[in-house]
Symmetry: C2
Subunit: 257 residues, 2 copies
């Protein structure tokens, strides 16, 4: 049984999803605080968590304080917390854990590697939770907690997590932007983006079977100049043209060493 | 009932998947030919299709001839077919249908918008089939056939199909290349690419609910210079750095007009 008491600071996507999964797993969340009182109240009500109205009062009843706030806010919130020997963990992929050193010796990062959207349910058991901790006791407590909500828990260093965060930006933000560019291009040409959805799904299905390099197909890989030039002639937007050119060059270089 | 006889020229991914779905739907495929006799024989055996050994003999027993060959081969194969009044359709996203005019007046494109891998089953009913035809009789026959195997059949022009093909390259080839870049980057740093798979799946799940522009998140969109500079410092590869820079600029421009 996991019997530590948990406080959550924050009311954004990560805060609300953590509150939800902790609630579902019947974990003991004793406090929530956010400078956005309205949003904090919604989470407090939905998951029956006592709302704390003053940052200075946070953590009085908790063993672990989650700092589920934006990267920029971590330092400021930390400086305004009462100093403590409790565990304080941020949830950022990119921030150093040492940022939290000013508050406690038991600092950590508890990073759920997923893109969260409010009111959009995800299966937490499949989300990797990556833990970095300042000492082994903190690490063990957070691992126990993570194992309650996910099947994919690992301990990694700050630098490894930051490299994963960079990779997450590539496969999530950049990929989604390619979808946006296609969607905008097709909309301008009165063609339905929905035609591409089965292809997009299959692109992802394929990475469960083989590594992405083996799955690569298309004109750039086989240096099909005729098709590439035809595509060039179909693009008006300068940004899209530059992206097309650079990704085509990179695919060619990757597969024709 | 669809009672036209079908011939298939080709033995690659599209040819074998068409042969399979026609077989499953009990359509009458009377011939298969490929210059790669070995591959053609495999398909002929698997789906009980008579094998034709000479290109000049193809189409004698068929009403519709599918040219499921590589883009480069379409013209050459076409020039070596006996001229005919049968329907001849290529399956290319990018080739003009008029290429086939030298063979017949009843020419067309029958384009299944999907990425096919041999021995990897896909659900054909969900694959858009996009038809371009030289006349309405040809169009109607191909629509009837397409409706036997897919729920998503549409008639579009050559130029629209070519624009879709360009978009398919963006969302499939370019997206997969971003996966490859991440995978290579993580491998170099001894980090498991599997950590990213739930995120990749969720990135795709989100486009069924909202359009991709609304789903965009991340440091580029919110102009989070601190995170972007941290990422820069974590990339050594010049190609990846250029791609990161250009996609970040494009995301920023798209969302901050």
């Amino acid at each position: 049984m996991f019997n530590k008491k948990i406080a959550i600071i924050g009311s954004g996507n990560v805060a609300s999803h953590l509150a939800e999964v902790f609630f579902e797993q019947k974990l003991d969340v004793t406090e929530i605080y956010s400078r956005n009182t309205e949003e904090a109240e919604k989470i407090a009500t939905a998951f029956r968590i006592p709302l704390v109205k003053n940052l200075k009062d946070v953590g009085k009843n908790a063993d672990i304080i989650f700092l589920a706030v934006s990267d920029d806010a971590i330092e400021e919130v930390c400086n305004n917390l009462s100093c403590t020997d409790k565990i304080i963990a941020h949830c950022s992929g990119i921030a150093n854990t040492e940022l939290l050193k000013v508050c406690t010796n038991n600092y950590a990062c508890f990073y759920p590697l997923q893109t969260f959207t409010k009111n959009h349910k995800v299966d937490f058991s499949q989300i990797p939770i990556l833990i970095t901790a300042s000492n082994s006791e903190t690490e063990n407590i957070l691992k126990d907690l993570a194992n309650k909500i996910s099947l994919k828990v690992a301990v990694i260093s700050d630098i490894q997590r930051q490299k994963l965060h960079l990779s997450a930006v590539i496969v999530n933000n950049f990929t989604n932007h390619l979808f946006t560019l296609s969607s905008n291009y097709l909309a301008k040409n009165n063609i339905d983006f929905d035609y591409l959805k089965p292809l997009i799904q299959e692109t992802v299905n394929k990475i469960s079977a083989k590594n992405p390099k083996e799955n690569q197909t298309g004109p750039a890989k086989r240096n099909d100049i005729k098709t590439i030039e035809k595509h060039f002639s179909l693009i008006e937007d300068e940004d899209l043209l530059e992206i097309y050119r650079i990704l085509t060059k990179s695919i060619y270089n990757t597969h024709n060493d």
